[in-house]
């Protein structure tokens, strides 16, 4: 899937620098000087990186407050008060290493797309069953919890393995963590 990265800044150094660091064929880059365009685009496949110099204008801060569903990254070029930092999904600092910046943005990108893709791979019900499997529940317990027959549980298990290509419980646990279905701390089967 193609992902759009919109960079809001007045500095060519910042725009071309970020583009160089993040360069990947999965991304499309766009340079914008005006934050007003933010409101027109609430597409989940777009990441907005905003130079905080643009935030000196309080109208812009109000605008960001309204765009809660956006993936907004703050590029901290000067100090920004901490109450405002909470408005952003992640913050990049100007003195960070290229690997770290890449890692942060890619992670945001993976989180967004993975969730959509898992939903495409597995049905809601299968995700529920998967959660219970990797939490260590046996077939009988899963059947009781979800109020379905053991046979239905077995069919779900078979379909989950067929769709993901993963059969063992420990393998499915890793799958579930990678797809943000459960957190690393919740894993009991590893």
């Amino acid at each position: 899937m193609q992902m759009k990265i919109k960079i809001y800044t007045n500095s060519d150094i910042i725009y071309y620098g970020l583009k160089e660091i993040l360069y990947s064929n999965q991304f499309n880059f766009e340079l914008l000087n005006n934050i007003k365009d933010l409101a027109n685009c609430d597409d989940a496949s777009t990441i907005h990186i905003i130079d905080n110099v643009l935030l000196f204008d309080t109208h812009n801060i109000d605008l960001i407050k309204r765009c809660t569903s956006h993936n907004i990254v703050l590029l901290q070029t000067t100090y920004l008060q901490s109450s405002l930092q909470n408005l952003f999904n992640i913050i990049i600092n100007l003195d960070e290493k290229d690997e770290t910046i890449k890692f942060k943005i890619f992670k945001l990108f993976n989180n967004k797309t993975d969730h959509q893709q898992t939903n495409a791979i597995l049905s809601e019900r299968e995700i529920e069953v998967l959660k219970l499997i990797v939490s260590g529940y046996q077939n009988k317990e899963i059947a009781d919890k979800l109020n379905i027959s053991i046979n239905t549980v077995l069919t779900h298990r078979k379909n989950i393995s067929q769709k993901t290509g993963i059969k063992s419980v420990s393998g499915l646990t890793i799958f579930a963590v990678l797809k943000n279905i459960i957190s690393l701390e919740e894993t009991t089967n590893l």
């Binding site: 890619f106 290509g165 799958f175 990678l178 690393l184 590893l190």
Partner: protein
């Protein structure tokens, strides 16, 4: 394009290795000396006291996944089969598993990425299970087969509570987990992981898988039927 290689008594081992270098590992399990100079299949079979048809069979199986009809397993092949399987265990235990473990650990130490930690834990668990299986074969199955095989010469009947039936289907789990690991690497491990980790691990797992596949085939399809024949004597 590489020309397919035809396997007969005159085929040189050097041509086979050049065609598919990974096969060196299996040749080592048979105690075949490398370098192979100009030796062909029948030279090597004679030198290592291996049934020529068995040698051709195993090469065909590795190169082309083909089962040749010329080869009918003989009771006396048990010696070479046991040698192969024991050497193979040694190779797994002393080299292959520690080597893969090292790749994973080194990457984790460098990056401390959660994704690598998950793979590390999965492989450690897998490693443990496989070693337990090998241990079981080394301690119980192989000594039993050796005893049974030796008793044929002495024309004596051995008594044992154990029979080879118990040992069938032990390999399914091992292959299943390996396949899971491959799928996780190929389909799901995100692009944020250290760049050559996926590739290096996959190439090594490919070798491991190939070696395990030959191993399971020799045990399940050749050794076990032979031992069942012996048990029926």
């Amino acid at each position: 394009m590489k020309k397919p290689i035809i396997i007969n008594n005159d085929t040189k081992l050097s041509d086979i290795i050049s065609f598919y270098p990974f096969i060196i590992t299996q040749f080592e399990h048979l105690n075949i000396n490398i370098p192979v100079e100009e030796k062909n299949i029948s030279d090597i079979a004679k030198e290592n006291k291996i049934n020529t048809n068995f040698l051709k069979f195993i090469i065909e199986y590795i190169l082309n996944n083909k089962i040749i009809e010329q080869y009918t397993p003989q009771i006396d092949d048990i010696t070479i089969l046991l040698l192969y399987l024991k050497n193979n265990h040694d190779y797994f235990i002393k080299y292959m598993f520690p080597h893969i473990d090292k790749i994973i650990n080194k990457t984790y130490d460098e990056t401390h990425q959660d994704e690598i930690l998950l793979i590390k834990k999965f492989f450690q668990e897998y490693n443990k299970e496989v070693l337990e299986h090998f241990e079981y074969e080394n301690q119980i199955v192989f000594p039993y087969i050796t005893k049974l095989y030796n008793s044929i010469d002495k024309k004596e009947k051995i008594t044992s509570d154990y029979c080879v039936e118990e040992y069938k289907n032990h390999h399914d789990d091992i292959e299943e987990k390996l396949n899971d690991l491959k799928n996780l690497l190929i389909k799901y491990l995100p692009s944020t992981i250290k760049s050559d980790f996926r590739k290096r691990l996959l190439f090594n797992l490919y070798q491991l898988e190939k070696d395990l596949d030959v191993h399971s085939y020799l045990e399940d399809k050749i050794l076990i039927p032979l031992v069942e024949k012996l048990e029926a004597y």
